[in-house]
């Protein structure tokens, strides 16, 4: 946007200014492409069912409040419950996963012990396993121990993430100096105290990134809850919306419900992402690979 105004103000562009125009335009096209569906869902959420199929798509409608009321009263507040479930699975799950991965990554990074390399690659190989390969036996095991369909059946398998452990190790390599650990040891601090009071705070920025990656991944996870859960009251938001849409395929009246549900489920995550963007340390993903 800023490029076009600059261009209009100064008709005689210098070569280096002209070189700015094309890159800017291409970037803005990319931004536009990424924003259009989000803008559409927000506008569509304001439409009543009849407006949805009759008015021009980007004209705001008048049914936002009705839609929201309908959404949150659908099946005695099922949507709100799904949202809370998603928050539980993604929030609590990612928090625990981040802690477990940080502790493991620190151990891999800052200790040398028999079996270190073998264990690390064993865990790392887990990245390549398809979710379905794990979901089926996990489902059977959960059935055998009587936990299938419970909150635990979705929460527990999500606590182990080979990629998160890998990232935690990369970050601990970079952020926790061996000399600091050594001097704390000389002062007589125990290994656990060194980790808790010295290493953990140093690893915090990296842990925020791991938490966010896990949070988005867990919020996104469809297969595991879809396989494990049968009770609708324990569904996360995406499985809930899927069942809503499946029921509504013959019945367009459920479309506006699914649309407003989609909008409501997307907006908090976007807000969170924009808010946490400054704390992200995504460079550690590629940083670990720089040759």
């Amino acid at each position: 946007m800023s490029a076009s105004t600059t261009g209009a103000r100064r008709p005689g562009l210098l070569p280096h200014q002209r070189a700015r125009l094309l890159p800017t335009v291409v970037l803005l096209i990319g931004a536009f492409y990424c924003l259009v569906p989000l803008a559409w869902i927000v506008v569509a959420a304001t439409k009543s069912n009849t407006e949805l199929f009759s008015t021009f798509t980007f004209t705001p409608g008048t049914g936002l409040l009705d839609n929201l009321r309908e959404l949150f009263t659908y099946q005695d507040g099922a949507f709100g419950r799904w949202a809370l479930n998603s928050l539980l699975y993604a929030g609590l799950g990612s928090l625990l996963c981040t802690l477990i991965s940080a502790v493991a990554g620190y151990a891999f990074s800052r200790y040398e012990f028999p079996g270190r390399t073998a264990l690390f690659y064993l865990i790392l190989a887990g990245v390549l396993l398809p979710g379905m390969l794990l979901a089926i036996p996990q489902y059977i095991i959960m059935t055998k121990i009587g936990m299938v369909g419970s909150y635990w059946s979705v929460l527990l398998p999500g606590l182990i993430s080979p990629f998160a452990i890998y990232l935690a190790r990369v970050y601990a390599d970079a952020a926790v100096p061996v000399s600091t650990i050594e001097s704390a040891r000389m002062d007589g601090a125990s290994e656990y105290r060194i980790f808790g009071t010295i290493a953990l705070p140093m690893m915090l920025p990296g842990m925020v990134t791991i938490f966010m990656l896990q949070f988005v991944g867990a919020w996104n996870n469809f297969l595991l809850p879809y396989v494990m859960l049968s009770d609708e009251s324990r569904f996360p938001i995406n499985v809930g919306l899927y069942t809503l849409l499946s029921k509504g395929s013959g019945e367009p009246s459920l479309y506006s419900l699914a649309i407003v549900g989609t909008a409501v489920s997307v907006l908090p995550l976007i807000a969170l992402l924009l808010f946490l963007q400054r704390f992200w340390r995504l460079d550690m993903i590629s940083g670990g690979l720089k040759g």
Binding site: A3, Y121, Y171
Partner: protein, 349 residues
């Protein structure tokens, strides 16, 4: 399975970890000056003088939760899947009340799957979807990353945030979102073409389903891959680009000849993630299924496996299918790393 995978996987994994040390350069530690210590000194040896028995045990204690979870939710399930895949449901009791129970059937499940044309048709559809989606995702991500890195472009902060935004949208929700944008009754694109008298765009009909589905993956994937490549680009020493510019290198040549080769490891990583993601595509077609007649129960391999396991209740067959998929993933990932290794990891070290 865990044992068998760890062997071949440790090849490329070594390279991933070997590159880990320079991360200290790109990721500034909270207290400055610690970088030297982190890179210079080797980790303490187990049982070394200053650590007592508690110190010797500490790494194992730290690893206990992760290892326990790894065994419970990765190693045991993988082993169980392998066991299950050679079992079969057969009628064992003769007579009227013949019951189905699990018996050892060897590789019969694998033979059934590998000779089932439906399964291979699913692979073909998945491959077509990937061939459209992956190059577009990575190409666009690389282009945007280079433009962000090139100082001349305006509105970079805004564009970066906007292009990254779809990452926050879960894949299943993104499918729903695009599904409504494709659906003839709600599509804004079809609305425009209809107003122009051209008729709607058949996003969900016939062969259109492939680009339509691939577009969902592209939309959701560009941002994350762009950030990975962009952060790798930021790690290139500025002197390198300056020297090239002084030598009269154009920005275009600078990008193609210097920047792209230097971020090749990041490109391989994003390529690997895209490959694994493509092989495991499930949510997007499942989500669009209620909206179109094109997508059936076995449209991609994972849907086929899900059908076997949870609709036909034939878990051994589903386990065999998922083992086939896992081996396929492993082979393709290793092939990708092998092909690119010489040029990227090997060349850089």
């Amino acid at each position: 399975m865990s044992e068998t995978t760890s062997g071949p996987a440790s090849g490329p994994a070594t390279d991933l970890a070997a590159g880990a040390a320079p991360a200290a350069v790109s990721a500034p530690a909270p207290d400055s000056g610690s970088g030297n210590g982190a890179r210079g000194a080797p980790p303490p040896r187990a049982g070394g003088g200053r650590r007592g028995l508690g110190g010797f045990l500490a790494p194992y204690v730290f690893l206990t939760p992760a290892l326990a979870l790894f065994v419970a939710f990765l190693a045991i399930p993988v082993g169980y899947a392998l066991y299950l895949s050679v079992q079969g449901l057969r009628i064992v009791d003769e007579g009227v009340f013949g019951t189905r129970s699990e018996v050892f059937v060897g590789f019969a499940n694998y033979a059934d799957i590998l000779t089932d044309s439906t399964f291979w048709a699913g692979f073909g559809r998945m491959a077509l979807y990937g061939v459209i989606g992956v190059p577009l995702t990575l190409g666009a991500a690389l282009l945007f990353a280079l433009l962000l890195d090139y100082g001349g472009a305006r509105a970079r902060r805004f564009s970066r945030a906007a292009i990254f935004l779809p990452y926050a949208v879960p894949g299943v929700i993104a499918s729903l979102l695009w599904g409504f944008m494709y659906l003839p009754s709600t599509s804004p694109f079809s609305h425009v073409t209809e107003e122009l008298g051209l008729g709607g765009i058949p996003f969900l009909d016939g062969g259109w389903i492939f680009p339509s589905l691939a577009n969902i993956a592209v939309w959701g994937g560009i941002g994350f891959n762009m950030i990975i490549i962009y952060t790798a680009l930021r790690g290139i020493p500025p002197e390198l680009a300056d020297a090239a510019r002084i030598d009269g290198c154009s920005e275009w040549r600078l990008a193609l000849r210097i920047k792209v080769p230097l971020v090749a490891p990041a490109l391989v990583l994003t390529g690997l993630f895209s490959l694994i993601g493509t092989l495991q595509v499930y949510g997007e077609p499942t989500m669009l299924r209620p909206m179109t007649v094109e997508i059936d129960q076995t449209w991609v391999p994972l849907m086929y496996i899900y059908r076997d396991g949870f609709i036909r209740d034939d878990l051994p067959m589903a386990a065999a299918g998922s083992v086939v998929l896992a081996i396929g993933t492993l082979v393709l990932s290793l092939a990708l790393l092998r092909v690119t290794q010489r040029r990227t990891f090997g060349g850089a070290q």
